[in-house]
């Protein structure tokens, strides 16, 4: 009995513990940038990290933007002597480029609560250009957006489009008073919310095209889902989640949530909303539906770290950052707490840059963490040495030695037990690679040309592109003209998002498995590339730049 128990415990510990652990971070350095809060995410270009403080306005202290090297060495500081309100407009790093107004170098764009919008040289903090905007108690507090060679700035009471090259004002429109709002672009329309409960639509030429009455203030950039917008609206003591159909001009409330909404987040087809009750995920197909929720208290920004881990600052006295993995179906998994020595109230998202994670909160301390596994990586690569393989060899040697020792003492059952368990573990670890290699041997790679599957009714513009066909039970949906996808999964996702199709997947040890398309799972979905059945997991299966991918029920 004890033997059997040991066997099962061993098997479970070996296989389920690694899935439960996420990337680990070790403290690298910290810089006290106070007095003042860090209310918005630091930004980094890999070499430097930039952070802004909001003010306490004690004595002569004023809000600042500071730059540090990625090793924590201070580079420059820019103070705003006239700011007397909270500075919370997110910093924006822009790469050098050129456009209709001319060329621009690398820029760090900063909106200030005193109404100034400044473009700084990230290398030394000096001014490139500056524009003044309306101030009514405060000026800019919202999130700007880059649109080609322009920056779109939500001002205190409107919207402004500026040339990146010189700050020239292309247009400025007055809308209604706003705070911590943000702007999003859909087609040729900019959408921006306000404190007065209005969602404004402004054409890219500066013409106000629409205004939509909401049940409260909108304090984030709308999330664009094809022809719809997702809006998390702040009400008196709660909030509402709306879907606004910009084509039909219809507003639909899909959920009543907690107060003080956070700035929402998007990961692929999943949208994450936060408030004083917790986090909520939404996925949109023909309808937008709530998928999962997680109790916590998040009112600020959130970020995705390590590919699929939500990092959300918990805005309570105990604070810290809530972490949770977001799976392919929009559900949370492995939620936990990321704690620092300065846990407390916070609204600022972390920033992940290469192997570093930068964090700040109301304590006003910029903290840098380094990913633990990457500290070993360069050494391994430099010596051409595979650490995992070495560990494997050591492990197998120990098992064989242990089995031999047991056999020598005539403990044959124990020897076989250890050997069989280890063989099973090794085989399970090797299965994905072995299975794929075996498939390569057994089957020919798809060799049919796309013409085999080409439908003459398709537009010519789709020639030499990637085309996806979903053979749904009720209709066949075809999406073409797609480019640049390298895996079946990436292409399928893109096609699904363009045609309001909901995909449900399961992440397995062998790769990603597509469970259902638009709620239909039946006896399983198969894919064919140019008419030939696919042999690999969808996130592993590589594809050509020109093909017809067909999804059909088995």
């Amino acid at each position: 009995m004890r033997r059997s128990l040991l066997f099962f415990v061993g098997l479970f510990l070996f296989f389920f513990t690694p899935y439960a652990s996420a990337a680990t971070w070790s403290p690298a350095w910290e810089q006290d940038v106070g007095p003042g809060y860090i209310t918005t995410s630091p930004v980094s270009d890999g070499e430097h990290v930039y952070v802004r403080t909001s003010g306490f306005w004690t004595g002569e202290e004023r809000p600042e933007v500071k730059a540090f090297t990625h090793e924590g060495v201070p580079k420059w500081t820019r103070v705003s002597p006239t700011t007397v309100q909270h500075d919370m407009s997110p910093l924006l790093l822009v790469e050098a480029g050129d456009g209709a107004c001319g060329q621009w170098p690398e820029l760090l764009l900063v909106g200030w609560a005193n109404g100034d919008f400044t473009a700084l040289h990230p290398s030394n903090g000096t001014l490139v250009w500056q524009v003044n905007t309306t101030v009514k108690a405060w000026g800019i507090t919202g999130a700007s957006m880059i649109d080609a060679d322009n920056v779109i700035v939500p001002t205190r009471d409107g919207l402004m489009q500026l040339c990146l090259a010189n700050g020239q004002i292309n247009f400025e429109v007055q809308l209604s008073d706003a705070w911590r709002n943000g702007v999003a672009k859909q087609g040729e329309t900019y959408w921006v919310g306000s404190e007065t409960g209005t969602l404004w639509g402004v054409h890219s030429n500066g013409t106000v095209t629409s205004s939509v009455n909401l049940s409260g203030a909108l304090r984030h950039a709308p999330l664009v889902v094809d022809h719809r917008l997702l809006l998390h609206v702040q009400e008196a003591a709660s909030s509402s989640l709306y879907v606004y159909n910009t084509t039909a001009a219809s507003l639909e409330r899909i959920a009543k949530l907690g107060g003080s909404p956070a700035v929402p987040l998007q990961l692929d087809q999943t949208f994450v909303f936060g408030d004083s009750q917790g986090l909520t995920t939404v996925r949109c197909g023909q309808q937008c539906l709530i998928v999962d929720s997680l109790p916590t208290w998040v009112n600020g920004e959130m970020a995705i770290v390590s590919g699929n881990q939500v990092f959300a600052p918990v805005n309570t006295l105990e604070g810290g950052w809530l972490t949770a993995l977001l799976n392919e179906t929009g559900e949370f998994a492995n939620s936990g707490q990321f704690s620092t020595p300065y846990d407390g109230y916070g609204t600022s998202a972390p920033n992940e840059a290469t192997s570093m994670l930068y964090l700040g909160n109301d304590a006003g301390v910029l903290m840098a963490f380094e990913r633990e596994e990457t500290t070993m990586q360069p050494e391994i690569e430099a010596s051409g040495f595979d650490g995992a393989a070495l560990l494997g060899v050591i492990g197998i040697s120990l098992v064989l030695a242990g089995s031999a020792a047991m056999a020598k003492r005539s403990r044959m059952n124990e020897a076989w037990g250890l050997l069989s368990f280890s063989a099973l573990v090794v085989a399970l670890l090797m299965l994905p690679d072995v299975s794929n290699a075996w498939n390569d041997l057994l089957t020919e790679p798809p060799s049919n040309p796309p013409e085999e599957e080409w439908d003459l009714s398709w537009p010519e513009a789709w020639l030499d592109t990637q085309v996806v066909v979903f053979e749904l039970p009720e209709e066949t949906v075809t999406v073409g003209g797609l480019e640049g996808h390298t895996t079946v999964w990436s292409l399928t996702q893109n096609a699904a998002s363009q045609s309001d199709i909901i995909l449900l997947t399961e992440d397995t040890s062998l790769g990603l498995y597509l469970l259902s398309i638009n709620g239909t799972s039946a006896s399983g979905w198969e894919y064919a590339i140019n008419g030939e059945r696919g042999n690999y997991a969808i996130d592993v299966a590589a594809i050509e730049s020109t093909l017809v991918l067909r999804w059909s029920l088995a």
Partner: protein, 219 residues
């Protein structure tokens, strides 16, 4: 292959699915009734064995093709005879698939494990009350490709050629190896415990038989 692994054959209508369930449950009870009469203790213990194996299969589902049912079916067949072994295999397959994924393939998996149970009943795994561990390990390994072959039959369709079926079987080979290694580990780690547990069942039944309720040996 991997995306096709979840594909098990034609989709059953609700009525088709219900008829399959009824057929499987009926078959299980028919095998139980046709087996020598069991006392309440034996029946309760067999039910416990069915539920425990079902739970274990569901819990171990994330490990690809590690199947605790196979070794259990071999030993149940060896101890309680082919008929109860088949009933055990059908009930475990049906119950666990209702929790994991139920459909046309359930029939083939039930047949696969029933064949394993019959094999266990005829493999002389118990001699003079002692478990023949080497023989159990050998049959545990052999059972894996046999079960793989039978359950893959659920994918056969009218359009499939023999060559395509052979490729399909070949693609499943790494998974059969995992099944075999898992069976071996289960046999070594849990064989003795299951043997002890099932010996208790057999002994209990023998006590009843000894007082005159003789029905002869189950085939």
């Amino acid at each position: 292959m991997f995306q096709a692994l979840g594909v098990h054959g034609p989709e059953l209508s609700p009525i088709g699915s219900m008829l399959l369930d009824i057929a499987l449950v009926s078959a299980a009870f028919a095998f139980l009734l046709s087996a020598p009469r069991a006392n309440r203790m034996t029946a309760a213990m067999l039910l416990t064995m069915v539920l425990a194996t079902t739970a274990l299969r569901v819990v171990m589902q994330p490990l690809p093709n590690v199947q605790p049912v196979t070794v259990a079916a071999l030993l149940v067949g060896a101890h309680l005879g082919a008929k109860r072994g088949v009933a055990f295999a059908i009930l475990v397959t049906l119950l666990s698939n209702l929790l994991i994924s139920h459909g046309w393939w359930t029939l083939f998996q039930a047949i696969g494990w029933s064949v394993v149970a019959v094999m266990g009943a005829n493999a002389r795994l118990i001699e003079e009350g002692r478990l023949q561990m080497q023989r159990l390990c050998m049959f545990a390994v052999i059972s894996a490709p046999l079960f793989g072959l039978i359950s893959t039959l659920s994918l056969v369709s009218s359009e499939m050629s023999l060559g395509q079926f052979t490729v399909l079987l070949g693609q499943g080979l790494p998974f059969d190896v995992i099944h075999a290694l898992g069976n071996l580990a289960f046999a070594v780690w849990t064989g003795a415990m299951l043997h002890h547990f099932l010996s208790g069942l057999t002994a209990t039944e023998e006590e009843v038989l000894a007082v005159g309720d003789v029905h002869g040996l189950d085939a």
